[in-house]
Point group: C2
Chain length 460, copies 2
């Protein structure tokens, strides 16, 4: 029972082996990313268009094609509170599955916030502080991102205002308590604090809120004040860039294990932890190195990559953001309520969408019931209870391992376990009580949302 535990299960790096630079996939793309467009002029946005929302250093990271972006020393110092993160060989899970495959996972739940989100919250807070910003606004659904930005803002002396989707605000008061512990202010969205929030409430006084509405509120406030900027936890190029510390560390660790991945798996909502684990491997392949299959796993109830349209769309419901070309279910699409709140977003990161269009990766969708079952199998084998979002990556990795079993192949499978589920045990409780339904989206609503995508002239 234990002899296989005596082979190595944990691969740790020294702090001195931590990446000193993030990896930028834009440097290696065979076709450049389509530009972001101004919704009024339909022309590519310039840095000045984004300046009300972000400090110039982050805007530059959004568009640069430099391959390596130095990680500032103060950011490296704070990363060291929990990084380098461990990489595990899942010996026991392999045994349970009876697979000849070797399964490895990179564990990002060791951060103080319990997920990968601080990897970008810290540099975003840093660059904003450097630019003299005093206050950050953001949105959060389940609460992982709001928690992480609260943590980061506090470390850099920034005020943080979080618009939390009302239904989560009401149902998960303990998430708000974490944000308040870090000194942030958290309000339910739609709120009376913004013009857009008030307009929504005027029409629907009991509106449960959505991520798209909360983004509109946070953007509105940031645009109004010079000392206030906006921070987004996924989707944007600079956010994905910051998350590449995950994959860069994992590359070193897979080399330690002498097991280059045949397949790399991550879960996708906005795309940030997925890009974090996957982009360094995609880039390695694009530069002539050993190629890995790259698999994104998304929820069947919000399947932007597998059922969405690759088209220009708004990032928010209030249509205050620029237009980005991405896989989208339509900015008016409301996904059904399911427990991986971090994956409930109508769009996909433009860089991930572009990589998908270029054939650099695959995507697959699973229901939440299938994903919770996979998460329980994983927890019983490996000890760590995954976040509901991370269960999608677990499910994807297990499916790859079972394919290897059918095909008799001893492949190396690497996946990102983006966070622990200690904040989300209510959803496991419902799973065990048989109360989790695999509610699908409304096909008609999806068709309508896709039909109302903004009309954009063909780009050059």
């Amino acid at each position: 029972m234990f002899r296989d535990m005596s082979t190595r299960t944990k691969y740790l790096l020294e702090e001195s082996q931590m990446p000193k630079a993030w990896y930028n996939l834009q440097a290696d793309l065979p076709v450049p990313l389509p530009p972001v467009l101004h919704p009024g002029t339909m022309q590519p946005v310039g840095p000045d268009d984004l300046a009300p929302l972000f400090p110039m250093s982050l805007i530059q990271q959004e568009v640069t094609t430099e391959r390596e972006i130095d990680i500032p020393e103060p950011v490296q110092d704070i990363y060291k509170l929990w990084r380098p993160a461990p990489l595990y060989r899942a010996h026991r899970l392999e045994k349970v599955l009876g697979t000849p495959a070797k399964i490895f996972y990179k564990y990002e739940g060791v951060s103080p916030a319990g997920s990968h989100k601080p990897n970008t919250a810290i540099p975003q807070a840093f660059y904003n502080q450097q630019a003299g910003v005093k206050r950050l606004t953001t949105e959060t659904g389940a609460g992982q991102w709001g928690t992480s930005l609260s943590f980061a803002g506090n470390l850099f002396g920034l005020e943080v205002l979080v618009f939390q989707v009302r239904v989560s605000y009401d149902q998960k008061p303990y998430r708000r308590a974490v944000m308040e512990t870090y000194g942030a202010r958290c309000v339910a969205s739609p709120s009376m604090e913004t013009v857009y929030g008030r307009s929504v409430l005027a029409e629907h006084p009991n509106h449960p809120g959505s991520l798209g509405i909360a983004i509109s509120e946070a953007v509105e406030l940031a645009a109004q004040r010079d000392d206030t900027k906006y921070a987004l936890g996924s989707v944007l190029n600079h956010v994905l860039l910051h998350q590449t510390v995950i994959g860069l560390e994992a590359m070193e660790q897979m080399q330690m294990a002498d097991a280059w991945p045949d397949v790399v798996v991550g879960c996708t909502g906005g795309g940030s932890n997925f890009a974090g684990i996957a982009f360094p491997f995609i880039g390695h392949g694009l530069r002539g190195g050993q190629k890995s299959r790259i698999v994104a796993v998304e929820p069947a109830a919000c399947p932007s990559l597998t059922r969405g349209k690759y088209a220009y769309d708004f990032g928010d419901t209030g249509h205050m953001t620029p237009l980005s070309k991405m896989h989208t279910l339509g900015s008016t699409f409301t996904p059904p309520g399911f427990h991986a709140g971090g994956l409930r977003y109508h769009g996909m990161a433009p860089l991930v969408s572009h990589a998908k269009e270029l054939g650099l990766m695959e995507a697959v969708a699973y229901t939440q019931g299938e994903c919770f079952a996979a998460g329980v199998t994983f927890a019983r084998a490996e000890g760590i209870v995954p976040a509901p979002e991370s269960n999608h990556a677990v499910k994807g990795a297990i499916e790859e391992a079972l394919r290897c079993k059918r095909e008799g192949k001893s492949e190396n499978i690497l996946f990102c376990l983006s966070g622990h589920g200690h904040f989300d045990m209510v959803s496991y409780q419902k799973y065990f009580a048989g109360e989790l339904t695999d509610e699908s989206y409304n096909e008609q609503e999806l068709a309508m949302a896709l039909a109302s995508l903004p009309s954009v002239p063909a780009q050059g």
Copy 2:
């Protein structure tokens, strides 16, 4: 703001530097521990008396005076899932406090269960499995111990049955969800599954339960069946022994930091995480090494070390356990409801109590309001949100640091941060809402509980 972050903040050990043996304080005690007594005969219990409850290997660890007990390899292998645990220098907390002291903390929240409890759950499950046991029973209050034994039992293929104090069972269903995720069965105590539980319910159908009652139920079931044993998460010598991996690692890490602790601080409920961090340092001093001051911090609402009597008492409410000499508030004492559920126990580990009587350590009590305030200060400075129990150690360390400030002393303070608070954010929420009351125990009830301690003939 960040320059002090560039000095080292995290001290990590290699897996090869992990302790290969636990440290047994009984080897170095100037006066041996008073014997455990059979409540019927008032004679010292022998191994056979305990055999219905524990496997012989653990009973031997209960009484041995060998200094070093080898950690079995399968236990070391599983420890490596999260150990060695990091030791941090709290640079930012020092700065916030303006203290010349250096504050270090050993962080045990990195385990899959989020606390130090798996350090003993793993070896207890291992020794039981080795002895052919099929099923373990235990009790849990807030749920940390039940979670950890569920995790450990699952890894060793043992069935686990957890009696959870009913008020926690009802109020914290997500804790039960973690246990069920690990495949354990969790029932509310008092339950209909035991003679004792049924007798309590017959008298009080809506009894909210207590740790003492849950222990009685778990012990009753274990005593009935040969294939079933009982596991306790604190108090007993072998439990404290297993936790010494905390202090043994910390010793190595404090040497790396070139900062031997002047004072070592831990929180105490049953005494296990405290013993884990403190006993190796106490032993070092007893063997002629540099002495450290040792400070136990307990809740003012359940102050066994500072207000209890050092006397023989039962470990449970149903009086099924042997009698141990310890600091006790009386086995019939019911502490008021407060949020550090892991510290709500009427007694103190006999080894900790004995060390206190021998003058090897000090004890101090703080209210939960003071401790939550300390925990919030810590979270804002260091990023990690502590468990309510751990907040007591944080408070103790902060008080020592402020003393150093008053006295102008640059002492080295080490404390054990026994777990994260991600499961306990409801209590932080109440703290921020001003709803936490510092309810004290009833003085008259304490006097009555102390007056009804069992009468034991003088030993020796």
